[in-house]
């Protein structure tokens, strides 16, 4: 109980701390932040349940008015804005990433983790984010999806980085990948 609690707390703090890493700007001019990388990594390392709970803690801090999102954003206003689907979608993204990592056995951990991050951190996340924009902006699914398309190349890079990081963590400390521990 205590160990699960501290793991969740520490990864929540890591996701917040990654918000302070200056974003890298792609050639297309779209900034990519390290924060959603932390979300995918929480799922890939901690597993579905604990990864999702770490994100729940971060979302809770945002609701409490703490500026823990990249760029010092936070507060209840985020929940009324067009990006609410992406914030809440993080929870599902971490869960699905962790679930896929624990179920998908390929010859390479990096491959499993990259596929998991693409499914959780891109397919599921963009689905949630797009539904959020449909509701807030009263758009059709296609129109809302179009608004978030510029961010997909950055997230693909992040998914590959998450796969690579997960493999490195597994190589140096095989017991550390709690998503794979049964």
């Amino acid at each position: 109980m205590e160990r699960n609690f501290t793991l969740i707390i520490l990864f929540a703090a890591l996701i917040c701390a990654l918000g302070f890493v200056p974003p890298i700007t792609l050639i297309s001019g779209v900034p990519i932040s390290a924060q959603s990388l932390g979300v995918m990594l929480a799922g890939a390392v901690l597993g579905a349940g604990r990864g999702a709970l770490a994100v729940v803690v971060v979302v809770g801090l945002v609701a409490l008015g703490l500026p823990v999102l990249a760029g010092g954003r936070g507060g209840l206003g985020v929940f009324a804005g067009p990006t609410v689907g992406f914030l809440l979608g993080w929870i599902a993204a971490a869960f699905v990433t962790g679930w896929v990592v624990s179920r998908l056995q390929t010859r390479f951990i990096w491959l499993s983790a990259t596929i998991a991050a693409v499914i959780g951190g891109i397919v599921v996340l963009y689905l949630c984010g797009t539904i959020g924009m449909m509701i807030v902006l009263h758009k059709t699914f296609g129109q809302a999806l179009l608004l978030s398309l510029p961010f997909i190349p950055g997230d693909l890079i992040k998914a590959v980085v998450v796969g690579w990081l997960t493999a490195m963590i597994g190589r140096y400390r095989p017991g550390a990948l709690l998503s794979r521990a049964h």
């Binding site: 205590e2 609690f5 703090a13 008015g65 963590i169």
Partner: protein
């Protein structure tokens, strides 16, 4: 880490957090249903008026919170003007600004201790399932304490990397970062257990 709440004791600060959240939920539900520009403009002005009662710093903090939203709204308005109608663009802009503004107002006027007390009250019914109502408050306190620790550690790792390499560290430093977190979690868990653990102990019924 500082909360976004403004320090002070305005009329809105003195209202209880539960009342503010309840009213906000109602206001949001009503605003989401409005689709005419005039009532939405009235709502927007009312929200602006609320911020104004906090003085200049209230207006400034409200505008600051609106900035990242306006970016997307601007894009939508351009799109609407090109393809749809000006009426739709106006309704959309007014509704989002009014709703985000109202939510921000609650954040600005509710100090963190009030919010944590509210969370503890809401979590109280879950004690039946073995979840301590103090857990959310403990989680918030620990994350806030750990964020500067982890930021400091990331800087240390980056310095250690730079002392040895001319290349940029990139995301590879996240590997030692995560491994150190996994070690920390064992130590923190031991420390928590040594202080009585997290599962609520059965206290004798209070006599008062």
């Amino acid at each position: 880490m500082l909360s976004l709440a403004l320090p002070g004791t305005s009329w809105a600060h003195r209202l209880s957090a539960g009342v503010k959240f309840g009213v906000l939920a109602g206001v949001m539900a009503v605003m989401a249903g409005l689709d005419r520009p005039v009532p939405l403009a009235v709502a927007g002005c009312a929200v602006l008026g609320l911020h104004a009662t906090l003085g200049w710093r209230g207006l400034r903090a409200g505008a600051l919170a609106m900035r990242p939203v306006l970016w997307i709204v601007g894009l939508i308005v351009i799109w609407q003007l090109a393809l749809g109608t000006a009426h739709e663009a106006l309704v959309l802009t007014l509704r989002i600004i009014a709703m985000v503004g109202a939510a921000t107002f609650v954040t600005l006027t509710t100090p963190l201790p009030d919010l944590i007390a509210l969370v503890e009250r809401l979590a109280a019914p879950f004690a039946r399932f073995g979840l301590s109502p103090r857990l959310p408050a403990l989680a918030v306190a620990m994350v806030l304490r750990l964020i500067p620790v982890l930021r400091g550690r990331m800087e240390m790792l980056a310095l250690a990397w730079r002392a040895r390499s001319r290349k940029r560290p990139g995301p590879r430093l996240i590997v030692p970062m995560v491994l150190s977190l996994l070690d920390d979690s064992d130590h923190l868990a031991e420390a928590l257990r040594a202080r009585g653990g997290l599962t609520p102990t059965k206290l004798p019924p209070r006599r008062d």
